[in-house]
Symmetry: C2
Subunit: 226 residues, 2 copies
Amino acid sequence: MASKKAIVLFSGGLDSTTVLAKALSENYDVTALTIDYKQRHMYELEASRKILVKYPDVKHIIFKIDLAKIGGSALTDEKINVPLTESTGIPPTYVPARNIIFLSIACSYAEKLDINNIFIGVNSIDYSGYPDCRPEFIESFQKMVNLGTKYGVEQKGIKIHTPLIRMSKSEIIKYGTALNVDYSMTVSCYSLNSIGQACGVCDACRFRKKGFLEANIDDPTIYKKN
Amino acid sequence: MASKKAIVLFSGGLDSTTVLAKALSENYDVTALTIDYKQRHMYELEASRKILVKYPDVKHIIFKIDLAKIGGSALTDEKINVPLTESTGIPPTYVPARNIIFLSIACSYAEKLDINNIFIGVNSIDYSGYPDCRPEFIESFQKMVNLGTKYGVEQKGIKIHTPLIRMSKSEIIKYGTALNVDYSMTVSCYSLNSIGQACGVCDACRFRKKGFLEANIDDPTIYKKN
């Protein structure tokens, strides 16, 4: 029975790939959990598969939940546009209760698979202001899950790891580069075009571009020409 | 814009049908949310549809999530038997993180549909010891969801209502009977046979039988002859 096992919530994006590399560098036996939530950017799933080719020891679970049926976000409802300029407040790319649902599914797997550690690549510095990326949410979720699960009651406990939560995007990129993350494989853009080019202007692209610039590392992303 | 709207997590069982009747008696505009989680007792879904025929003003959403893919419970994995005698500890009918996942989905809908109230029929008196039915879990979930959602941050807040949490099964039955709940339509048994008869011996049947007995109300359940 391995004592250090972890589930990594893994979208195939820059942050979660960095977290995956970090968990592996700490010798966790990793199960990568990718949620297919019928997101607009379904190429995330493809990216997650391609990235894991480099990490053959990682088990990969793809779990489907149709959040497009609920909608309410530019990422799950094609009638809502992805903003292409900076805005104030929580942007329309916020998906109602997404990280709560994702972490809940991860906790269900953690109990089933006897895994105490869950890693998630949330970040509250270079981010879109999503409430479910903030430290106070994660701390509260951690308490809740250990009251509401068999693991909690049996005092094994589930630990939510958020190694990136207080890092800037450039710090994340430097950190991942040192761990040999191939960022050319990761996808951030909310609005990739049909030939796989990032828009360069959505929130996710802007944070990514700024991160590479500030890290003084070449940005391998292919952006479309405007 | 109706000011009193509620989502009721509605399985078609005794408790959630009572909660539905209670929310309606308090003049909530009710959306019943039934989760099809590939549970062993899929007749729950059929019961939920039949019961709602009596409540034509209630909107009904059936949301699918395949918890059988995760497994780890007698209710989602046919290889695990439903216990037919009383046991100690959390029984194998516990579904890993089930109410956390259900409430998370309800919260996602609440945000999308601009609904502040969620009702759930959890009970911590005549129950199987599931950690996700206890008041301390619900209180913690309530805090968490108001830190992790747009609703929370915008200070509208989501309120989780658990009107049955400290009632005995007989109190629930008396309460629902006064609200004209037709318990003959509701399904509790974890192990119904192919002609729709309750086993009479699983945890859910035992609590139900005891409840009707103590309430001194005729039990309309059809139990199989042993």
